[in-house]
């Protein structure tokens, strides 16, 4: 039982928090700009490398540098929007998605060119977990990641529910046409969307790197579970994305627990397939997402 918590449930929560943060950006972009952004994974990767570079320069802790990363990444992402997405505001979704393929390749090659393709780590060596009650082993970094992620999700909630721009974002997600008739500055809302998405992507990238390592493919590798989290939660719905992220992360980790007999239920090599299977199931049976009813 204690193995279950130590090696499956806690890693699942950590991974789930990371997916949830990534999925917030995906789902906001989808709700407001109406396309699936395939470059979102690379945006997360970029956040991790920016933090790594600042760590080299300052020697500070990645979580202390995270706010700086968020600011820089937001600026970069807004620049990308202006150059690579703004020309397609009135284009069909297919064109914008293909454009996001192009951007994905460009960001990835820039990170590979700048930082090299080899794995790197925020903190060299292995951290010893804290042991609670003789058996419960939780490493401090896991506690930090989960708590920070929860705090960030509360911030997202606060922005969407209580600020003028957050409400305008939800309004535009509901109906872009009416938002325009209401006098909402849609380009400003789009900027805010990119900023919020980029901040959460920075956090997702940094937490993922903090939990394991930094690599140029890390973001693309979690792109599918991130999309899955957004779809499971009902695309365009940030709270659904948070719940979907946690659900997918925990399920992925629990899938390799020895539920029946001694061996893992599912070979760990197929872990990545779990999120996909859940996503397909949701797409077939509940395309509007698992959580109907109140949205946002």
């Amino acid at each position: 039982m204690i193995d279950f918590i130590n090696f499956h449930l806690i890693p699942g929560l950590v991974l789930g928090s990371i997916y949830a943060l990534g999925a917030i950006g995906v789902t906001l972009t989808f709700g407001i700009l109406r396309f699936a952004n395939f470059a979102h994974g690379e945006i997360m990767t970029l956040g991790a490398y920016l933090t790594l570079t600042m760590m080299w320069l300052t020697g500070w802790h990645p979580l202390i540098l995270l706010p700086v990363t968020m600011v820089i990444l937001s600026l970069i992402v807004i620049g990308m929007d202006q150059a690579f997405f703004k020309p397609f505001r009135n284009s069909p979704a297919v064109t914008v998605v293909i454009a996001s393929f192009g951007l994905m390749l460009m960001i990835r090659s820039v990170t590979q060119f700048s930082w090299g393709a080899q794995l790197q780590a925020f903190v060299p060596g292995i951290q010893r977990p804290n042991v609670f009650f003789d058996a419960l082993r939780i490493s401090p970094k896991h506690i930090l990641i989960v708590i920070s992620a929860m705090v960030l999700m509360l911030v997202v909630h606060w922005v969407l529910a209580h600020t003028r721009i957050g409400k305008a974002m939800r309004a535009m997600s509901d109906s872009p046409e009416l938002a325009r008739l209401t006098g909402i500055n849609t380009e400003l809302v789009i900027k805010a969307t990119w900023i919020l998405g980029a901040c959460m992507a920075a956090a997702a990238g940094v937490f993922l790197a903090y939990d394991s390592h930094v690599s140029t493919m890390m973001g693309f590798q979690i792109l599918l579970p991130t999309f899955a989290a957004a779809i499971v939660g009902g695309i365009g719905r940030p709270y659904g994305a948070m719940a979907g992220g946690l659900l997918i992360g925990v399920t992925e980790e629990l899938s390799s627990y020895a539920w029946l007999g001694d061996g893992p239920l599912l070979e760990p090599g197929y872990k990545a397939g779990v999120s996909f299977a859940i996503m397909i199931g949701v797409l077939i049976w509940r395309p509007s997402g698992l959580f109907r009813g109140r949205v946002f």
């Binding site: 409400k167 939800r170 309004a171 997600s173 938002a179 325009r180 209401t182 006098g183 909402i184 500055n185």
Partner: protein
Amino acid sequence: MAILELENIHGGYGQTEILHDISMRVEPGEIVVIIGPNGAGKSTAMKSVFGLLNLTSGRILLDDVDITNTPPEKVVRQGVCYVPQTGNIFPNLSVHENLEMGAYVRQDDFSGRLDEIYELFPPLVEKRNLPAGTLSGGQRQMVAMGKALMLDPKILLLDEPSAGLSPKYRGEIFKVVRDINEAGTPILMVEQNAKQALGIADRAYILVDGKNRLDDTGKNLLANKEVAEMFLGGGKTEVKKPAVRKARGTPKT
């Protein structure tokens, strides 16, 4: 001096011309109604004020300022509010948030205005925290109008506010329209329910095939024989006229 004036406008969506030389005006304090058969260009004429179509000639004046082909987000800031026939609320935002969005372009404190709106639409008070999409049709119309009124506009444009409502709610909506007007807001309104609309209208325009056909006071038009034949079904309640089909791709008016 007219609040709003359309001078000989021609235009439509893209290349298709729908409005062929339409003129109308709204004086301060008036309720002006546009009626006409389906496809006559009623809604299109209204949308032209809001910069939603491409005008090829003619002018639109708001308080003597030319606003021809100004995009909607700017027209709002000039003090014109438009309530479309459908999709006129944000369904996932609460009633209160919908009203706040109505005041989006206001930089000042609008809490006083919020209270006034709730006074005008008492049923909304207890639903203020519910998603607007869960309300009944009539109450949604109230949210939509309340949202538009948050700006205290110079003129309010209403596109078939009674469409799809039960007769009971329909009467209520017409009463609300009159209340809004009595509180000082001029109204330009497109309506299918010609009889009721003419009943509250100061003046009305009848459009047919994208052209002005008749204009007069509401009372005179109600008494007009041609109007009675066209819309009032010989004194009974209104009868739907067969649709006048326009070129394919023309949005519903």
